[in-house]
């Protein structure tokens, strides 16, 4: 059976692009969260749209479950193909068209996020959602996860920048969602698809909005002696009505990891927290906003605020922030990267609570996050080969999640539920909401073959309760 499938897939994409030996599948065991790993049954790597279509239709014909994967940089285990077929889309990396007049582009799903911005930069345009992994992650993956990024505070997330999608449904039907020329009539299925974490189908092409590069940019680095005062500065800036392009916080352990790396940005290593604040837009009025933000920081207790001197300085400040999570390999051999959201005003309290949880379990928590929208990323470096420490980490993460939910927040801001956050879904949603999600999924994927057993815990679906014999 597997042999037959393997050779039929090879007939579509070529022999070299179907991997079946365990030693070659090994590297596809996990995404960006390697604490979870399991080899796919097969991995197939089409290079063209037609090949993707043929592969998906063959999988439909043979009723084979599969997981679509971009660059494998996701942080929720969402692209883990545990024993099923892994459908890699990173070879579809063509920018199909750039329409300068209408500020939009059509790209294949495997285009790397930063490559799109690089291609449009000479035209004075950029693709606004800028996840920290933007130098590696793909637009297709961004669509699946509804990826965010530091600049989403002002510009919005992936959802706000994708205007149309061509999708092949798991059954093999090709549909268009959204409308590049304006709002679609009827129910917003495009909105439903973006962030569906690979459970609704496979993206064939993406029409994205491009944003004009701002006339001027000012990047501020504010240095605080306490996390609490940094959090208060965040609240003051937001309350003032100034819409920062980005408003990021990093705490001391994170600063130390970054400053030890090749991306050392000159962050103050004796600070308890720093804020990286970017203001952009027309030059008129910008300096006034910069002065006000500077004052909010100083009033909240900042020890100093410095403004990036030039483009190179600004790039350096941002590189440090964006590579921060990767830099934590310096602290320990493994890392859990967490993603949760709380109402912004609850930031000081929740940060204190996270600190308390870490101390109670003897763990180092490194916080690096989008403070402006209350999107936390508590990261815990640890040694996964130490079963006791691993257990502590998992417990601590559960406690952090529960604290965020109790504060009125949620369990993911941008990384998705995937596999990692399945256990928290039932704490956040009622059984009927979860059932509604299952029902929506079956509209796109009636056989539940596309990224099976992710996002919605299967046991929360009514059908599952109705048919106990189907339980694993």
């Amino acid at each position: 059976m597997s042999l037959a499938l393997e050779s039929r897939l090879a007939a579509i994409v070529g022999e070299k692009r179907v991997l079946a030996r365990p030693s070659e599948l090994r590297v596809y065991e996990s995404d960006g969260l390697p604490g979870y790993h399991h080899a796919p049954r097969l991995a197939v790597f089409p290079a063209t749209r037609d090949e993707v279509i043929d592969v998906v239709r063959l999988l439909a014909e043979t009723k084979t479950p599969y997981v679509a994967r971009g660059a494998g940089t996701g942080l929720s285990g969402g692209a883990l193909a545990n024993g099923v077929v892994l459908l890699g889309l990173h070879r579809l990396k063509r920018i199909i068209s750039i329409d300068v007049e209408n500020c939009r582009a059509v790209v294949e799903p495997g285009v790397v996020n930063a490559n799109l911005t690089a291609a449009t930069a000479p035209l004075g345009l950029h693709y606004a959602p800028d996840p920290s992994s933007q130098t590696a992650c793909t637009i297709g993956g961004n669509v699946s996860e509804n990826a965010g990024g530091p600049h989403c505070l002002k510009y919005g997330v992936t959802l706000n920048h994708v205007i149309a999608l061509t999708v092949i449904l798991p059954g093999g039907e090709i549909i268009t969602l959204g409308n590049p020329d304006g709002e679609d009539d009827g129910i917003d299925l495009l909105g439903a698809f973006i962030g569906s974490e690979g459970c609704f189908g496979v993206v064939l092409d993406v029409t994205v909005r491009l944003v004009k590069n701002p006339q001027a940019i000012r990047t501020l680095l504010a240095d605080f002696a306490s996390v609490d005062s940094a959090a208060r500065a965040v609240s003051a800036i937001i309350a003032s009505g100034i819409v920062a392009a980005a408003l990021e916080m990093m705490d001391a352990p994170t600063i130390h990891a970054v400053e030890a790396s090749i991306y050392a940005a000159g962050y103050p290593t004796d600070a308890a927290a720093i804020l990286l604040i970017e203001l952009d837009g027309p030059l008129a009025g910008l300096e006034e906003d910069v002065a006000r933000v500077e004052k909010f920081c100083l009033d909240a207790g900042a020890r100093g605020v410095r403004i990036a001197t030039d483009a190179a300085d600004r790039a350096r400040l941002w590189q440090g922030r964006k590579k921060a999570f990767g830099a934590m390999g310096r602290v320990s051999s493994h890392l859990v990267v967490q993603d949760a959201v709380v109402p912004r005003t609850k930031l000081p309290a929740i940060l204190a609570e996270i600190g308390r949880i870490g101390v109670a379990r003897g763990l180092t928590v490194c916080n690096v996050f989008h403070a402006g929208d209350g999107n936390l990323h508590p990261n815990i470096p640890y040694n996964a080969n130490d079963p006791v420490e691993s257990a502590h980490v998992h417990e601590a993460m559960r406690e952090v999640m529960e604290a965020c939910i109790a504060a009125g927040g949620t369990i993911t801001g941008e990384h998705g539920v995937g596999l990692d956050k399945l256990p928290y879904m039932a704490s956040l949603f009622t059984p009927s909401t979860l059932t509604a999600m299952c029902t929506l999924r079956t509209v796109f994927d009636p056989e539940q073959r596309s990224n099976p057993s992710k996002v919605v815990p299967i046991h929360s679906c009514r059908e599952w309760h109705a048919a106990p014999s189907a339980r694993p």
Partner: protein, 424 residues
């Protein structure tokens, strides 16, 4: 799906990879290295990426992959060793070190391919190496390399490489004066550099003199051992390292100047390759601390401005200069000291050209796929000269340009500065 737990003992205790395996733990699998990797971009398989190869290395250490596994050999062999992943890695994974340790571990199971072994054998023996280089010069002088450069396959490419070593620019003779105030320098004359680029070595000496360094000879010097280390022949690399340390200690200069980026990177790592050799480690560390790329020494001195040289040039960064030695601006300072020279930026100049020592002879197919975008980007600049400070890159890019018949030449930046000084 499983969650990693439990402590795993090393399956290859005492092997070079076991000794280096701590470096594997720094990888958190973030994937930021993927787009920096030329073989991943060319082959589009994570098995041919840094992150993927680290997974394979981990498999060897944990014993879930055997050292005899063919797939492991294939993907480890295919690595260029350009180390562009190191300058992309936030966690500081010592990838180059891990790669060499892995190769040293794997060569115990499967010997290095014949072509590579023959070259390594010759380079480690001075008389053979000199004979080899003499043969090269003879072939070049007789015009055989020009005749055969258009042949398809490895032989044609090797001939094009040889043909590309002819001087790319003309220059006037001059007599440098040196105050010696910046200290004394012994130059690594090298194997290929002295064999096929002797004039660049003389240019190195002249330009250093022009910038107030005094020259000291180190006649006992040998091959730097980089090719051996990269291929997994760690023992020969260590033997050559010890010989060079001795030779340059005897010379007693303040600095060891290197005009071949690959050799410079190796010599700066003698401290590391002799880490477990108690009798030599300290000497190796202090030797490595004195090694400088020639562009570093020149940039330190200014360098002194030359005479007008109205040329349009683009610059390609050798991987072992940019990624291994982390030297980015000194070569640009060298070119900046030349009045009249127009520098056109090269797109993706931080990407490998596919030379990688003798990789282009051992893995010609992948090497060509890595070279293709480099040539395309060079063509986009419109410059008739591409400057790069490493013999492997000079010959790889030179051969590609030669075979493309576009009339563009590769040149060492030091040759340009030397020509500029000739015009003073």
């Amino acid at each position: 799906m499983s969650v990693t737990t439990g402590s795993i003992p090393c399956a290859i205790p005492g092997s070079p990879l076991d000794l280096a395996s701590g470096g594997i733990d720094a990888c958190v699998h973030c994937g930021f290295c993927l787009q920096a990797c030329p073989t991943y971009l060319a082959l589009e398989d994570e098995n041919d990426s840094p992150r993927g190869r680290i997974v394979l290395m981990r498999g060897l250490v944990e014993g879930t992959l055997a050292t005899t596994n063919e797939d492991v050999h294939t993907h480890i062999d295919r690595c260029l060793g350009c180390r562009a992943c190191e300058t992309a890695c936030p966690s500081g994974v010592p990838y180059g070190h891990l790669l060499e340790a892995t190769r040293a571990t794997l060569t115990a199971v499967k010997p290095i391919p014949f072509v590579a072994r023959a070259i390594l054998f010759a380079f480690a023996r001075r008389p053979l190496m000199l004979l080899f280089m003499f043969g090269g010069r003879l072939t070049r002088a007789l015009g055989l390399s020009r005749l055969l450069a258009s042949l398809p396959g490895r032989l044609g490419f090797a001939m094009a490489m040889l043909e590309s070593t002819r001087a790319s620019i003309t220059r006037k003779r001059y007599s440098p004066d040196s105050s010696g105030s910046r200290g004394s320098v012994a130059v690594l004359t090298g194997c290929v550099m002295e064999g096929l680029f002797a004039e660049t070595n003389r240019a190195t000496e002249r330009t250093l003199s022009m910038n107030d360094y005094s020259l000291v000879l180190a006649p006992q010097q040998r091959c730097c051992g980089a090719l051996h280390a990269h291929a997994g022949d760690a023992e020969t690399a260590r033997t050559l390292a010890r010989a060079n340390i001795e030779a340059f200690e005897a010379a007693g200069a303040d600095y060891v100047a290197v005009n071949a980026a690959g050799c410079g990177a190796m010599m700066k790592e003698y401290g590391q390759i002799l880490e477990h050799d108690a009798g030599w480690h300290e000497r190796a560390v202090s030797f490595s601390a004195r090694v400088r790329d020639v562009s570093e020494l020149l940039a330190e001195a200014g360098p002194r401005t030359g005479g007008a040289l109205p040329l349009t040039v683009t610059y390609d960064a050798p991987c072992h200069l940019l990624h291994a030695q982390r030297i980015a601006t000194p070569p640009l300072r060298v070119l900046g000291a030349i009045p009249g020279l127009t520098l056109v930026p090269l797109n993706a100049s931080d990407q490998c050209c596919g030379s990688a020592g003798i990789y282009n002879l051992v893995e010609p197919d992948v090497s060509n796929r890595v070279l293709a975008p480099k040539l395309a980007n060079i063509a986009l600049t419109g410059a008739p000269l591409v400057a790069t400070g490493n013999p492997g890159c000079l010959m790889q890019i030179g051969a590609g340009l030669q075979q493309a018949g576009v009339g563009v030449r590769a040149v060492h930046p030091i040759d340009l500065l030397d020509a500029s000084y000739g015009n003073l």
